[in-house]
Amino acid sequence: MAREKFQKVHSSAVPVHIENVDTDQIIPARFLKATTRDGFGENLFRDWRYDGNNQPIADFALNNPIYSGDILVSGKNFGCGSSREHAAWAITDFGFKVVVSSFFADIFKNNALNNGLLPVQVSDAFLAQIFEAIEADSKATFTVDLQAQTFTIDATGASASFEINTYKKECMLNGYDDIDYLLSLKDKIEEFEKKRA
């Protein structure tokens, strides 16, 4: 089933300056009881966004009105922990299109790509530059060009390239998903089964 095509992103960013952000923080298990993919954004980073009395915690970046945008920037080893795709759903449902970190957990990366959320992995040094740019100006903008595989800090012009395999890139740019492709392999899969039997 076709998905939205991934366009160039030009936006400010929201900084969650924490390392090892695990999927239990992105979306705590108690919110996984839904049977649809919608509405998870409401509980994105729930326990960092709200205190025990459901009051917003003012200094958490997602609650701070000076930050906004389509890009989430976070510390090293983002998305570690469980396989829950709900983490990717929560991030996209909240409105992010890109997550930037210096390291992503494997399953999270797959889940993000399968949901049209682009994980951009940059070096530790470049990540530090991004955080500095946001600190200097909370409205600082960035340009994410998937076609060129570059992430640019608009204010300084500093740019970093990022990796994505050709297949996944084509899928993102064209809005294809893996199931369509796999379904087209039906005969090959049956042949494989026969050969092994």
Binding site: D22, D24, K33, N77, S82, E85, L183
Partner: protein, 465 residues
């Protein structure tokens, strides 16, 4: 030509198609399903008008969300009940085998698969759950997937995956008394950090793993994901074959012998090359415990919380945040710290061997007054076996509360939550903030250490008892 690693042998035998500069299309032998990560996948199938392609390769059981008391009554929590009912409905509609609540085979999906002989060497096994790595203990390539991927496997029995790099972790030597599988894996993760295995599939080799039972090997492979690895596996041997023999879905008679002959081919060739190799000495490993909020933050139970100066500069903010959450200070000695809860269970340490170890340790003793102790068997079969072996009586006598099978306080999706601010020594696998309930403070340890803590009420070296 250089030889192949065990991982390569299994992987390569399952590649249906290789996409240029892209992922491989990998055939999946066994798909396991539970209630939390499957409803959206079934909804996706329905939207496309598809059916489950190979129902004989698919098994489901509810575990994450189920209550651990009164399982014979309707689930009280509306959302949980709806999710569990949804699984039943989806399985019925698609003809998928389901071990529902109260079925004698129900349990945590990673306990159920091995126990029924569904998990076998050389297979590719996936489940919408990161601890699918558990099944690697049998010499299979087993890993967790997301819900979109669950949908792919349901629809096509295949997945698109980039092949991981290979890492071998060798631990040779004899383990000291009171040191077990859980300590080995907590030790390794503490050495290489919670992201030290990212991008890799790990093979565990060496005498320390060879000498482990299948239960112990499952504990090790289970936590591969906690170092970021895609999965972990151990080459099958006599211990593996003996474990599988006679189990419900294992091959029988001549078929079993033929299978074993094939399984004997599953090993890493002597001249195979790994992308990374690590070596540890079993003699260096002591009973372990975690003090922080990721599984890499572990020390020997007699050790101290690290000082700020021991931590790399970039990680200091996270380290301080973590200690603040845990209510600990840098440099603090952990021994003697008072604990509130002990949780024995989960797909890491909720097997019969774990219950036996705890029962043996607490026999004739009583839990400390300040401790609430929960034991949650990993499956109905474990529960039954524990009853038959008299373990339940011993545990209850010692003041433990025996609950019914499920994930329980491992992830606190049901009512089994550790209250805010309370310390829990847990045999599960994750100590993330809020993992065992909002504000809960989790310290991961082995079943023996957990038992010792239950008896003394505080952090203690189990070797001293």
């Amino acid at each position: 030509m250089a030889g192949k690693t065990l991982f390569d042998k299994i992987w390569d035998a399952h590649v249906v198609e290789q996409i240029e500069d892209g992922p491989s299309v990998v055939y999946i032998d066994q798909h396991l399903i539970h209630e939390v990560t499957s409803p959206q996948a079934f909804a996706g199938l329905d939207a496309r008008g598809l059916k489950v392609l190979r129902t004989n390769r698919t098994v489901a059981t509810p575990d994450h969300n189920v209550p651990t008391i009164d399982q014979d009554k309707p689930i009280r929590d509306d959302l949980s009940r709806f999710q569990v009912d949804k699984l039943t409905e989806n399985c019925e509609r698609h003809g998928v085998t389901l071990y529902g609540l109260n079925h004698p085979y129900q349990g945590i999906v990673h306990v159920v698969g091995p126990q029924l002989g569904i998990t076998q060497p050389g297979m590719t096994i996936v489940c919408g759950d990161s601890h699918t790595s558990t099944h690697g203990a049998f010499g299979s390539v087993a890993f967790g997937i997301g819900t979109s991927e669950v949908e792919m496997v349901l629809a096509t029995q295949c997945l698109m995956q980039s092949k991981a790099k290979r890492m071998r972790i060798t631990v040779d030597g004899e383990l000291g008394p009171g040191v077990g599988a859980k300590d080995i894996i907590l030790y390794i993760i503490a050495q290489i950090t919670a992201s030290g295995g990212t991008g890799y599939f790990v093979e565990y080799a060496g005498s320390a793993f060879r000498n482990l039972s299948m239960e112990g090997r499952m504990t090790v492979c289970n936590m591969s994901i906690e170092m970021g690895a895609r999965g972990g596996l151990i080459a099958p041997d006599e211990t593996t074959f003996e474990y599988i023999r006679g189990r419900e879905f294992a091959p029988k008679g001549a078929d079993f012998d033929a299978a074993v002959a094939k399984w004997r081919e599953l090993y890493t060739d002597a001249d195979a090359v790994f992308d990374a190799e690590l070596h540890f000495d079993a003699a260096d490993i002591e009973p372990m415990i975690t003090y922080g909020t990721n599984p890499g933050m572990g020390v020997k139970v007699t050790g101290n919380v690290p000082n700020l100066s021991d931590i790399e500069e970039s990680g200091r903010t996270s380290f301080s945040k973590s200690l603040e959450y845990m209510g600990l200070v840098p440099g603090e000695l952990l021994l003697g710290k008072q604990v509130d809860y002990v949780f024995v269970g989960s797909c890491t340490n909720g097997r019969i061997e774990d219950l036996r170890a705890v029962a043996q340790f607490v026999k004739g003793k009583k839990k400390a007054d300040n401790i609430t102790a929960w034991i949650v068997p990993g499956s109905k079969q474990v529960e039954k076996q524990a009853q038959e072996e008299g373990l339940v009586a011993i545990l209850e006598e010692a003041g433990f509360m025996l609950r019914q099978p499920g994930c329980s306080a491992c992830l606190a999706m049901n009512e089994d939550k550790i209250p805010k601010g309370k310390y829990a020594v847990s045999t599960s696998n994750r100590n993330f903030e809020g993992r065992q309930g909002p504000g809960a403070r989790t310290m991961l340890a082995s079943p023996i250490t957990a038992a010792a803590v239950a008896v003394t009420g505080k952090i203690v070296d189990p070797r001293d008892l």
